[in-house]
């Protein structure tokens, strides 16, 4: 961890699920390079619910894409589950990392059940009856009715799309789940339902979750730790209360505005985030 973090590392040294060392993310465009991350360090340990927050354009989603191996580090190292992130995309990737894309990214040519079963079916060795049964279990685990199984993605509401995408990300029970703005574009009711679902899955399945979000309610409801991206690096990383106590103009604006105060009330009521 770098100097800006004020975290007491947990007593039992759990293995790090994600290790990011001195990461540089650079985008080359005609004539000039845009540096998004500069010497960024981040550790994500087993079983935690880590939220990454930051202003618009601060490179939160790029950081997520780096963990998925979708972007290449210009300098530095991104290690996920003990391997370089670039090797994640190999066969069977779905059993290592699940990703919930912001807009779901469901395959529009497939039904709901086919979408969920896709990664498992593509392995080509398990009988298709078993694959469908596994997908049906996942479908119901995310709170969908069995009757939705044969619908097409275009017939689903925004909240249902997210649930199907979550079931698809979890079909091979990966230990690591990445979420990009999981509650963006959902109405408050669906968002609350989805947050409850994410919390129960995190607890029941013992997942390590990394979430990028703008939504302060979601942030405080779920996170066990928060990392703040600003000035091209992680300026603070720790439990919600530790991060909020950190003295930085961005953190002041982000957490201690009226919205932040309202949302942070949950921390005082529910001590489970401590």
């Amino acid at each position: 961890m770098n100097d800006s973090t004020a975290v007491n590392t947990p007593a039992a040294p759990a293995p790090d699920v994600v290790e990011i060392d001195k990461l540089w993310s650079v985008f080359h465009s005609a004539g000039r390079d845009a540096v998004v991350h500069q010497d960024l360090d981040l550790r994500i340990v087993d079983g935690e619910f880590m939220s990454i927050v930051g202003g618009s354009g601060s490179g939160k989603t790029v950081l997520l894409r780096q963990m998925l191996g979708l972007e290449k580090p210009a300098r530095g190292r991104v290690t996920v589950l003990g391997k370089p992130a670039a090797q994640l995309g190999a066969e069977g990737a779905a059993s290592r990392v699940g990703m919930l894309f912001q807009h779901g990214a469901l395959y529009s040519a497939f039904t709901v059940l086919e979408n969920i079963a896709f990664a498992l079916r593509e392995l080509g060795t398990l009988p298709s009856k078993l694959v469908r049964e596994v997908a049906m279990v996942k479908l119901q685990m995310v709170g969908l009715e069995p009757a939705q199984a044969h619908k097409m993605p275009s017939d689903l509401s925004g909240g249902m799309v997210k649930r199907v995408a979550l079931a698809r990300a979890l079909v091979m029970d990966p230990p690591l789940l990445l979420l990009d703005e999981p509650t963006a574009g959902l109405d408050p009711d669906s968002a609350d339902g989805f947050v409850a679902l994410l919390r129960s899955l995190h607890q029941e399945l013992g997942l390590t979750v990394v979430m990028v979000t703008h939504d302060l309610d979601t942030l405080f409801e779920l996170s066990t730790r928060i990392a703040v991206v600003a000035e091209k690096r992680i300026i603070a990383c720790g439990t919600p209360l530790q991060v909020m106590a950190h003295d930085h103009p961005f953190i002041h604006d982000f957490f201690l505005g009226a919205r932040g105060q309202r949302a942070a009330a949950v921390l005082r009521q529910a001590p489970h985030n401590e």
């Binding site: 049964e133 279990v137 275009s154 091979m172």
Partner: protein, 373 residues
């Protein structure tokens, strides 16, 4: 065998011990599934339930592994089960949700009959939409004539450039090659009759009246018809069409009209250009194979092909262009916001345009059979 491979050990006292990593990724490894299946092969679920199952040494059990076990037990808990609490929770979750998959609607004769009806309605819907599109285009043309300065001329010129100017190299190349091949093949036949000089008549007539316009039209249907459909289709997917409607910008006037005008303008020019390239190729081939000189070719061509043929070719090319443009827009506007629909619409647009071009060409041949022949 790797220590992670899922496996089953069976000892004498009718006890089964499960070992390894019972996860989706491990179970799906080549060869593993057959072994597991052999280990779990029981005559009846009752037989499986009578055994003692020991899951405590499992390295990992995920939902897929739990589903495999649950199925082997015939969806009941076995009498003797040694298990960790977390594994029990996993199995309980699978047990709770292991419902039979809802049956997808199967097709019977009645549904086939309904599907036929749906097809008929679809055709009627297409015709209705096409009529509407054509009517709207006529109204838009009237609007344009009333206030020509307010027309979308910048769009028109952009489309003429993209549809026409950028297609010049490829149409020239194809026309040239077709001309060479035609002249060469015909020269072999004509030489048998000593009718070498008739190459000018045959080539001139076929290329100017039929091949040039057809070739250009088919090429442009594939090249620009598909572009038009895909452009408008993506605008549907990204809700740009809805945004236009909300701003009160008429889609027909801003999207369909410029494309139709540009097509109707560019197509005749491309047809003439293609014909020129084909004649040039034919002229070269005739010179090389039969010694019909370019000078003779130039002198004989006006005598062999009446100028009305050229007028006809230009006229029907404009109609082809209009057709391709309208069909492209028609399918583009019907696209639904998903990838499948986009692909189907683009294909349907190209196939329909080419079929319509050939149909309309046949109609032209019938109607104008006394002109220029």
């Amino acid at each position: 065998m790797s220590p992670h491979a899922p496996r089953i050990e069976r000892d004498a006292q009718a006890a089964l011990r499960l070992l390894g990593d019972w996860s989706a990724a491990r179970l799906a490894e080549p060869g593993t599934w057959a072994q597991i299946q052999a280990g779990l092969a029981f005559a009846a679920p009752a037989q499986a339930l009578a055994l003692s199952w020991d899951l405590r040494d499992l390295q990992r059990l995920d939902h897929t592994g739990a589903q495999v076990l649950w199925n082997a037990w015939g969806r009941e808990w076995p009498g003797q089960l040694l298990i960790e609490p977390a594994q029990r929770a996993m199995l309980a979750r699978v047990a709770q949700y292991a419902l039979p998959e809802p049956v997808a609607r199967r097709s019977n004769a009645w549904q086939l009959f309904l599907a036929l009806g749906a097809t008929v309605w679809l055709v009627i819907d297409h015709l209705k939409d096409a009529t509407q599109l054509l009517g709207q285009l006529l109204l838009d043309v009237l609007t344009l004539l009333r206030a020509p300065t307010k027309g979308p001329w910048r769009d028109v010129s952009g489309h003429v450039f993209r549809i026409g100017a950028t297609a010049l190299p490829i149409t020239a190349l194809l026309g040239f090659l077709i001309g060479v091949v035609l002249a060469y093949l015909m020269s072999l036949q004509l030489r048998q009759f000593g009718a070498d000089s008739f190459i000018v008549n045959i080539l001139g007539m076929s290329v100017i009246r039929e091949l040039g316009p057809m070739l250009a039209a088919i090429l442009i249907a594939g090249r620009s018809g598909s572009t038009i459909t895909a452009q408008i289709g993506v605008m549907r997917v990204t809700e740009e069409l809805d945004a236009m409607r909300v701003m009160g910008i008429p889609q027909g006037f801003r999207l369909v009209l410029p494309r139709a005008i540009a097509m109707a303008l560019a197509m005749p020019l491309l047809a003439v250009w293609t014909s020129l390239a084909a004649l040039f190729g034919g002229m070269l081939a005739a010179d090389l194979t039969m010694g019909v000189t370019p000078a003779y070719f130039f002198a004989a061509l006006p005598r062999a092909v009446e100028i009305s043929n050229l007028t006809l070719a230009v006229g029907k090319s404009a109609v082809f262009g209009l057709l391709i443009g309208l069909i492209g827009c028609h399918y583009g506007l019907r696209i639904k916001p998903n990838t499948e629909s986009l692909g189907q619409g683009t294909t349907a647009s190209v196939v329909t345009s080419i079929a319509m071009v050939i149909l309309v060409d046949a109609a032209f041949a019938l109607v104008f059979k006394d002109v220029g022949l």
